[in-house]
Subunit: 255 residues, 2 copies
Amino acid sequence: MSQAVTACVIVIGNEILSGRTQDINLNHIATTLGGWGIQVHHARVIPDDEDIIVNTINEVRVAYDYVFTTGGIGPTHDDITAVCVAKAFDVPIIQHPEIAERIRQRPAPQDIMASRLLMARVPEGASLVDNPSGGPQGFAMHNVYVMAGIPRVMQAMLSTLEGKLQSGFVIRSHTVRAYTGESSIADALAQIQLDNPDADIGSYPFLRDDRYGTHLVIRGADTTLLAQIAAAVMEAVRAIGETPEDLGLDADANA
Amino acid sequence: MSQAVTACVIVIGNEILSGRTQDINLNHIATTLGGWGIQVHHARVIPDDEDIIVNTINEVRVAYDYVFTTGGIGPTHDDITAVCVAKAFDVPIIQHPEIAERIRQRPAPQDIMASRLLMARVPEGASLVDNPSGGPQGFAMHNVYVMAGIPRVMQAMLSTLEGKLQSGFVIRSHTVRAYTGESSIADALAQIQLDNPDADIGSYPFLRDDRYGTHLVIRGADTTLLAQIAAAVMEAVRAIGETPEDLGLDADANA
């Protein structure tokens, strides 16, 4: 089995922390990277504050294989991500020739063009992360990937990285649904987890139509092992007189 | 003006980081606390890992007035939040008499009751955070509030804290919508921000029906000041030949 490749996501933006905007970027990044064999192990949501952004980037870029940021790459005064990444790496901020060239292709009055060209600022040494949707371009500085905050634009940028990143094993999941309180099955689950240290068994209770149930999710790289563990979990559910539902591999249990 | 009261949210759960579950708790907590005069300044999403949970709690509980955690308080082997909070505060884990009493009120076979009683474990010195929705109870240890991961249950717990927490000023927002590229207005906005250091002006671009627009959000405690700044922002939008839309105070711009 290859080694785990890990990532940290940094969601930058006062609007997420104030509750004005519901973040959906973390979920998309986690799902996409997971499919590529990169596991998101940590995420932070931080304000548009230079010191905090710089310190956060420097803390996490040495702790994870990859860092992905969202937000703060437009042309307004509150878009400070590029400057912060340059400070974090202690390099000057420069105008990226290719990004500037693209921006200049769409004519504009001089003052507006000057503002637009702020979106061509990158740390010296950064490479382009293409944005096929139009709008601002992203960039990568070593292992730090800087993307837009608008979900549709971020998703377009992320999609261009497919096949270009180092990848490890892909973590799969096998889900069993049971309409039972977690307490009824807690002991059996703990034993199955003890017997199977190579998989990670989670119990995620839910309320649906005023009934409590739980999704028993077995995660790991070996789908044969996952199926064996799922069988043991279903047997444990049957042992308490309930009927388990096998949702199978990589099920969207919320559907 | 009273002092700012700050909070950090810790979302605990592998299921958020894997992308299996879309977190909606941060948004609810941020909005609710904001209305009570407590500002969420930071959030972290971390895995069900004891060392990481303990270290994260210890790092943020000294940096913010309040810490709110979600997730990991059920009866299964992956529910380790209570144990981690006890370790973070270096106190023993005990059975909370009132929580245990409530759990015992619903009869169950001995082994199931033993599992259920795991949900009565709290760090020594913790106080109850009531859960009027049924299901597990939360607890507070000094400034750390430990709540469920299921949104409906978390929301019920949080609602019981209304009026019981220290509060500062309430940050209000005044939103102006403009269908314009951010670059066209970036200079004027930067100047308005410079002229008004007591408010925080954010520009949040969006794509709607394939048109780019931006929400210009002015945030601060003084609504008279916010209205003045909003007027200046609308004037700046008009100056570039566009028609601003005044969404007013605390608008849900996504609606």
